[in-house]
């Protein structure tokens, strides 16, 4: 199964994240799964004319294209011309290349939130009229249109994340190669459910602080980041605390808020990223599926029951008070 990887309105960070994949040599693992990298802009030998010839062969069907991966948003501006990104050496907008290649591909994969929904490239005034392959923010449509289906029958598979996790990419690609990814394996935003059916909150190491609403006030504090510092881990669809990043990391483990980067529109939250918007002292963004009244009642109850250990440690950058050691009975 061959794979063509293109980059457009993005930072290249999904490729760099992917190169950090653990568990043995990356290219060997892909080859073992039967995935052959036809061309990747950062990694392949073929340059310039050789690369253009390869792309053209895929676009006109002479070379079968099994998986088209796109990293970065599609840029439609200025004025609908697509000229904010011309594929160098071709004089044609990358947007047009993506459309003609997607029409030939058996599977189309959007790598990262820019390719999926527009992402950070579409933030603010969206200077380049950026959008995702099949979504414009949270609205179906985007570059290819809501009705697009790749040759294999699937809509664009959105491996959203900013960046996306190396293993979200690898497991998606390998599932496609094994013919083991069906529509019902994708969620309502076409993200693979193997990671999007979880919440970042699952496995959060600050859970005890969360339970007792013992909150961090400033970066480097150990407490829960939800009440004051903008954390959206209880609403964000991803398994970051179950598989971790770069060995042992995650945003929250790094001491900063989950910004819900796997969701469309995360780039413009309507409040400063590292501040929790509140109404009458209650955070506006509550945990997914939780009735508001219950949350408030439970929060009030747990706050009043917070152990001094948890309360003090929450506002320190190291453990001030260790859990009590139970003396063994005689």
């Amino acid at each position: 199964m061959n794979l063509l990887w293109l980059q457009s309105g993005g930072c290249g960070g999904c490729t760099l994240s992917w190169l950090g994949a653990e568990g043995g040599p990356l290219f060997v693992a892909l080859a073992d799964a039967g995935v052959e990298l036809l061309w990747h802009p950062s990694l392949s030998e073929a340059s310039a004319g050789e690369a253009r010839a390869l792309l053209a062969a895929c676009a006109d069907g002479r070379l079968p294209l099994d998986i088209l991966c796109v990293e970065g948003a599609a840029l439609r501006g200025p004025n609908g011309s697509g000229r904010f990104h011309l594929l160098s050496g071709s004089g044609a907008p990358m947007r047009d290349w993506i459309v003609s290649l997607a029409a030939r591909a058996r599977h189309v994969v959007a790598l990262g939130s820019c390719a999926a929904y527009g992402g950070v490239t579409a933030a603010g005034v969206n200077p380049t009229d950026a959008c995702g392959l099949q979504y414009d923010g949270g609205s179906p449509g985007g570059l290819l249109g809501a009705d697009f289906r790749a040759g294999g029958g699937l809509p664009v598979v959105n491996v959203a994340g900013c960046p996306t996790h190396p293993d979200w990419v690898n497991e998606t690609l390998i599932a496609l190669a094994r013919n083991a990814l069906a529509r019902e394996d994708l969620d309502d935003l076409c993200r693979p459910r193997f990671y999007a059916d979880h919440l970042v909150h699952h496995g959060c190491p600050r859970n005890e602080f969360y339970e007792f609403k013992a909150s961090a006030d400033k970066p480097s504090d150990q407490g829960c980041l939800m009440e004051h510092l903008g954390c959206k881990g209880t609403q964000a669809h991803a398994d970051c605390h179950m598989r971790l990043w770069n060995g042992s990391g995650s945003c929250v483990r790094g001491g900063y808020a989950c910004i819900r980067c796997t969701d469309p529109g995360f780039e413009d939250p309507g409040h400063p990223f590292a501040e929790t918007p509140k109404l009458a002292g209650i955070p506006l963004g509550l945990p997914a599926d939780m009735p508001k009244a219950w949350f408030i009642a439970l929060a009030a109850l747990s706050k009043s029951a917070t152990p001094a250990r948890v309360r003090e440690n929450a506002k320190a950058d190291h453990i001030l008070r260790a859990p009590t050691v139970k003396k063994a009975g005689r």
Binding site: G9, L19, G20, A48, S88, A130, C162
Partner: protein, 482 residues
């Protein structure tokens, strides 16, 4: 005169197109185009100042921490806060980890695979280079990627993840490493040291860092057999292809200085043009005469600059602006950083043959050998229990400048806050310096100069010499235009 348009130019970060005017077997003029515009400077306007910490790393997936560091510095300057020692050390470690990983990726994944090309079949070293460095399938990639991934475990510890961390804050680091975590960091550093010494250098880092002249380099090489590490492989190829005669730079090398220590930056800031000059960032201007942007009356300092796209502007040929220092074209990167910092071999290389393909690549490797031991020392200096981060307030009206060194060279952020919001945010990235288009006086940018004279073989559509020169700069095009 024949015109060649080379693109897509791969194994560089981001999008690049190079137009060459060729006559009598050599490049006579080059025009460098950055064909992707995203508009981060427009996106940032009107945002809460601290939101820059989320947005600017996403300018670039390969220089993400450098963008964070510049932003944190600009915000800290505007807020008037100084990180405590632990915060400074953690930021140094995080940025150094990114810079070394980038140097490694550049050497093994971007630069060396060109020597495995069929065009070099017949060279004595080709079979070995093909086995070792062939893109995707060479033995080096299978060793380097796991070593790199293991090294990036540092990022999981220091910064939560890479790329795109929020751990670097104006007041320090959000990630307070504890005593046992210091041991884990040290372990990752030692593991990476073993890889570098065994695979890349074939010698101790300290022995590499101590090579202090071109003559000493020759002596060091004479003492090693074939296959004594990939540095020796590179030097052999560089000799045979005369890479030291390829891609001569303009002679002005700029560094903002890197890695703040208690007594100032470990690598100092400055300009090297055969002598050392003071770098005053007030002397920087961005010329947009040949870029697709609306022009002010004269080139502006970035603190007063603007980014207003004008896609139909006549005479323009790139989305890249043209930064100039005191009106001069300057080259930035590891070569500049080490020259300014006084590394004797790098200064000797510049005296012998200027900036060129060989000296640019070698300077990165020399830098690796210097920075990893420094990371080991910074780790020892971390003092768990002492603060990692202080808080500050952003005034309603403020300005700040953040100057750091990314792997690829000098990166500057200029921030202005009005009524509590970002009024202006201007970014000048390393490759903006190196790959700038012509300025109003017609002076070509650093790469445009370095390409002149590059040999072009009969029938070559994407001349190999041009590819070596371009990749020797380790360009990052997504940073360049942002």
């Amino acid at each position: 005169m024949k015109r060649l348009v080379v693109g897509p130019f791969n194994r560089v970060e981001g999008d690049l197109e190079v137009t060459l005017d060729v006559a009598d077997g050599a490049v006579r003029a080059a025009h460098v185009n950055s064909p992707l515009y995203r508009g981060f400077e427009q996106i940032l306007q009107g945002k809460a100042p601290a939101d820059a910490l989320v947005l600017v790393p996403r300018i670039c997936g390969i220089c993400s921490v450098a963008q964070s560091a510049a932003s944190a510095q600009a915000l800290a300057a505007a807020m008037g806060v100084t990180p405590p020692a632990n915060g400074r050390l953690a930021a140094n470690l995080t940025l150094a980890a990114e810079n070394l990983a980038d140097h490694l990726s550049h050497f093994y994944l971007f630069f060396m695979p060109d020597f495995a090309r069929a065009a070099y079949r017949g060279r004595a070293w080709h079979a070995d280079a093909e086995r070792r460095f062939r893109a995707l399938s060479g033995t080096a990639a299978a060793e380097v990627l796991p070593a790199r991934a293991a090294f990036m475990r540092l990022m999981g510890l220091l910064a939560g993840k890479w790329p795109h961390t929020l751990a670097l804050q104006p007041g320090g680091s959000s990630r307070p490493l504890q005593a046992s975590e210091k041991i884990r960091v040290r372990r990752q550093l030692r593991e990476f040291r073993r890889f570098l010494e065994g695979t890349l250098f074939g010698d101790q880092l300290e022995a590499i860092a101590a090579i202090d002249s071109v003559a000493a380099l020759a002596r060091w090489r004479a003492g090693r057999g074939p296959g004594a590490g990939d540095l020796c492989r590179f030097l052999m190829i560089a000799d045979d292809l005369e890479l030291a005669k390829l891609g001569r730079g303009g002679g002005t090398y700029l560094s903002y200085g890197a890695y703040p220590e208690a007594a100032g930056r470990w690598f100092p800031a400055g300009i090297w043009d055969g002598g050392l000059r003071t770098l005053d960032s007030a002397n920087i201007r961005e010329d947009v005469s040949h870029a697709w942007y609306a022009e002010a009356e004269a080139p502006q300092h970035p603190a007063r600059g603007a980014t207003v796209p004008m896609p139909d502007k006549p005479g323009a040929y790139s989305w890249c602006k043209a930064p100039r220092w005191a009106g001069r074209v300057a080259e930035t990167g590891a070569l500049a950083r080490q020259a300014v910092a006084g590394q004797p071999l790098v200064r000797d290389l510049l005296a012998a043959g200027g900036g060129n393909v060989m000296s640019r690549v070698l300077a990165r490797l020399i830098e690796i050998s210097r920075v990893l031991p420094a990371m080991e020392a910074w780790t020892e200096q971390l003092a768990p229990g002492e603060p990692y981060c202080v808080v500050g307030e952003m005034p309603r009206e403020a300005e700040g400048e953040g100057l750091v060194e990314a792997a690829r060279g000098a990166l500057g952020h200029w921030l202005s806050v009005k009524r509590g919001r970002i009024h202006s945010y201007q970014i000048v990235a390393p490759t903006t310096w190196n790959f700038s288009p012509r300025d109003a006086l017609g002076a070509p940018g650093a790469l445009e100069q370095a390409l002149v004279g590059a040999p072009v073989g009969e029938g070559e559509e994407a001349p190999l010499a041009v590819q070596h020169i371009v990749r020797s700069f380790d360009p990052c095009m997504v940073c360049t235009v942002h």
